[in-house]
């Protein structure tokens, strides 16, 4: 992940752009989504942005939405058991993606990510995914990895990738089915 210093630099430049010419645009705030359970690692704002991103990344035909699988809250739970610094950096990345100020600078938009129409959200994600700016690619990669891992590790969507799931060994007797080096039982 980019360091906090790197992310703060991006945010500071965005603020400068706003001061020079963005005042009066009537910037909107984050569309806050209520989590299904108390948050442990992410702030309500960061969770809401993650929620919005997950809905777009996992916008698949005929499969559950990320929200139906609890992908965003699952990330919060995962982060709660990791070093707090990981959640802090992810949150900063989410807020840079969300920020209308940095949006003005980086994406020519004055609307927070969470408040954009879906098509515009997709366009922003594509821009970040393919950006020549390492910071944007890194933030995209971090969020994307957590989201798709959370989604595709859920057994309810295994059907969506033709994966039959793991066999059930159940610790039953497997004599005769198991392989050992030659000469051993």
């Amino acid at each position: 992940m980019p360091t906090r210093r790197e992310l703060m630099k991006v945010g500071a430049v965005g603020a400068g752009v706003l001061a020079l010419g963005g005042v009066g645009l009537g910037l909107r705030g984050t569309v806050v989504v209520a989590p299904p359970q108390p948050l442990q690692a992410l702030s309500p704002k960061a969770y809401s942005v993650l929620f919005a991103v997950a809905e777009r990344i996992c916008c698949y035909e005929g499969l559950p939405k990320a929200s139906e699988l609890g992908v965003a809250i699952g990330v919060d739970v995962l982060l709660a058991s990791a070093h707090p610094g990981i959640a802090a950096e992810l949150s900063q990345g989410l807020m840079v993606l969300e920020s209308a100020l940095t949006g003005l600078l980086l994406d020519a938009r004055a609307t927070p990510f969470s408040a954009l129409p879906h098509e515009d959200q997709d366009a922003v994600l594509e821009t970040w995914r393919l950006s020549k700016l390492p910071v944007k690619r890194t933030v995209y990669k971090a969020i994307h990895g957590l989201v798709v891992a959370g989604y595709w590790s859920d057994p309810t969507v295994f059907v969506g990738c033709g994966y039959p799931g793991p066999p059930d060994y159940g610790n039953v007797g497997l004599a005769g089915q198991l392989w050992s080096p030659e000469g051993e039982e």
Binding site: P2, R56, L78, P84, R129, A149, G160, P166, L178
Partner: protein, 509 residues
């Protein structure tokens, strides 16, 4: 003397333990060493920050396994996230989740270490008895059958006339499930928690799981105490209980990355610790076949190719196959929405090959660096230098040729914008594609170096006897001592070196 296992939930009060040898880490290095020392009659304490997990908890679900069995809950990576680092974290360390492939250290590597790094004691004759011992204990033998994914690698190499061979694995009673990476469901894999650790416990060793070493206390040029915190397994946070070990001899077997970080936390930063960290950076290529491949089932790695291991003044690479269960597969392609769905829908027909670049052998290749962040977390920096970029380009093209030769309908690279081709005419586009950090997926499943072994205290962290150059009685016995990457999967080299190191460490008590 009968050994014992202590887990975090059973440790309610601070305690201080004395012993002959304190081993930090229970992976490939620590466990073999623990068994060897305990069987020599020494009083051994093993501290392991991960939990003590057994097959009863191995659900074969990635969502359970990665948070439970991998470093940083499966989120470890380089600082720029260009390289995803898969590294084990449990009793047994990486051996609980590795894909079982075993090689003795190649001759060319031993010769390089002798010629470039002065390690003339690590000879074939010196090491082979130790390799033979671990092969016997761990059931290391050639695997006789290939799943469809490995068969594609074999067929492609055969069609091109490229070297390939069956691989050896440390298994007994293997069910050929394909789930080595999420904890073996039938205890077929001869991981450390099933082999050398029980040997150590039988000989009287004590194992503390869920116990993270915070720092070594050094006074008078020796380690006088090992300070550790008991972790609450659910939250991963310190429970408030402290374990202090006062050993005669201390061994860091915490592995590459965590081991150097421990030395740094202990104030043993001599400018060399954490340097020369090698990752065998991995790139991959996918092939979509008309027939099902089911890349999630069957022994993950049973065929390998070292056709490109020696490329003269260019970085070499070797080729193997990965298992592709849905979660890991989903992170390989970083598109989203319907494009990502189409990629995932092909999974049953997807075959994959990986190329592991052999870092650290070329002059000037210093690999990466382990350091500490201000908040105490480990930071891994790994610059993707031109030689690595060239190797990743060459290996990606080579893999594409194999996949095409094996009959794939379509080949796709792991680029941010995947390069797709259906025949050899498309190879030029693959050659011309961008390679480097954040241009495509890069993984590491092999972490090496960071506490390099060498004769010169000004250029290495430990001596040929595995002992720290400046702290008497402190040894490092794990993959972090390797002066370079290996060009083969590292587990057996670590087993063998730990077996080799037993006499040295025992002699220091």
């Amino acid at each position: 003397m009968s050994g014992a296992v202590f887990v975090g939930s059973g440790l309610a009060n601070d305690l201080t333990v004395s012993c002959d040898v304190c081993i930090i880490g229970s992976g490939a290095g620590g466990s073999v060493l623990a068994a060897g020392l305990a069987e020599r009659g020494l009083d051994v304490v093993v501290l392991e920050e991960g939990g003590y997990h057994t097959r009863a908890e191995f659900t074969l679900q990635e969502r359970d396994a990665f948070p439970m069995l991998y470093q940083d809950r499966g989120t470890r990576g380089t600082a720029d996230l260009a390289i995803t680092i898969l590294q084990g974290r449990s009793v047994g360390g990486g051996t609980t989740i590795n894909w079982t492939t075993c090689f003795r250290t190649p001759d060319r590597i031993l010769h390089h270490w002798r010629d470039v790094h002065g390690l003339d004691h690590l000879t074939r004759a010196a090491l082979d008895p130790h390799f033979e011992a671990v092969e016997q204990r761990l059931g290391i033998a050639e695997w006789p059958a290939n799943n469809a994914n490995n068969s594609k690698l074999e067929e492609g190499c055969a069609a091109l006339g490229w070297e390939h061979s069956q691989l050896r694995r440390n298994v007994r009673g293997c069910a050929n499930s394909g789930y080595c990476g999420v904890g073996c469901p039938v205890d077929g894999k001869q991981a450390m928690h099933l082999t050398y650790l029980p040997d150590a416990l039988d000989a009287g060793a004590r194992l503390f799981a869920d116990t993270r070493v915070d720092r070594l206390e050094v006074a008078g040029g020796r380690v006088v105490a090992v300070h550790a915190s008991v972790l609450d397994r659910a939250s991963g946070r310190p429970s408030g209980v402290a374990v202090t070990v006062r050993p005669k001899v201390t061994v860091s077997s915490a592995g590459a990355i965590n081991g150097p970080a421990l030395l740094l936390r202990s104030g043993l930063d001599d400018g060399l610790v954490g340097r020369r960290t090698f990752l065998h950076p991995v790139v991959g290529v996918g092939g979509r076949y008309a027939e099902p491949v089911h890349p999630y089932y069957g022994a993950p790695q049973s065929v390998g190719s070292h056709h490109f291991i020696d490329r003269g003044d260019k970085m070499g690479f070797f080729l193997e196959c990965p298992p592709l269960q849905p979660m890991l597969a989903s992170t390989v392609f970083n598109g989203f929405g319907l494009e990502h769905q189409e990629f995932m829908a092909d999974l049953p027909h997807l075959g994959a090959i990986i190329a592991l670049q052999v870092d650290g052998l070329l002059a000037g290749d210093e690999g990466g660096t382990v350091s500490l962040r201000r908040d105490g977390r480990i930071r891994v920096d790994y610059p993707v230098e031109p030689a690595l970029v060239e190797a990743m380009r060459a290996s990606t093209v080579a893999m594409a040729r194999i996949v095409l030769a094996a009959g794939a309908e379509e080949v796709a690279s792991m680029h941010v914008e995947p390069v797709r081709l259906r025949d050899a005419a498309g190879l030029a586009r693959l050659e011309a594609a961008p390679y480097g950090a954040l241009e495509h997926a890069i993984f590491s499943a092999h972490q090496m170096g960071g506490c390099m072994m060498g004769n010169d205290p000004a250029a290495s962290v430990v001596g040929p006897d595995f002992q720290h150059h400046r702290v008497a009685g402190l040894y490092v016995v794990d993959g972090s001592v390797l002066p370079t990457a290996l060009g083969v999967n590292p587990s057996q080299t670590i087993y063998g070196l730990a077996h080799f190191a037993c006499d040295e460490v025992a002699g220091a008590v």
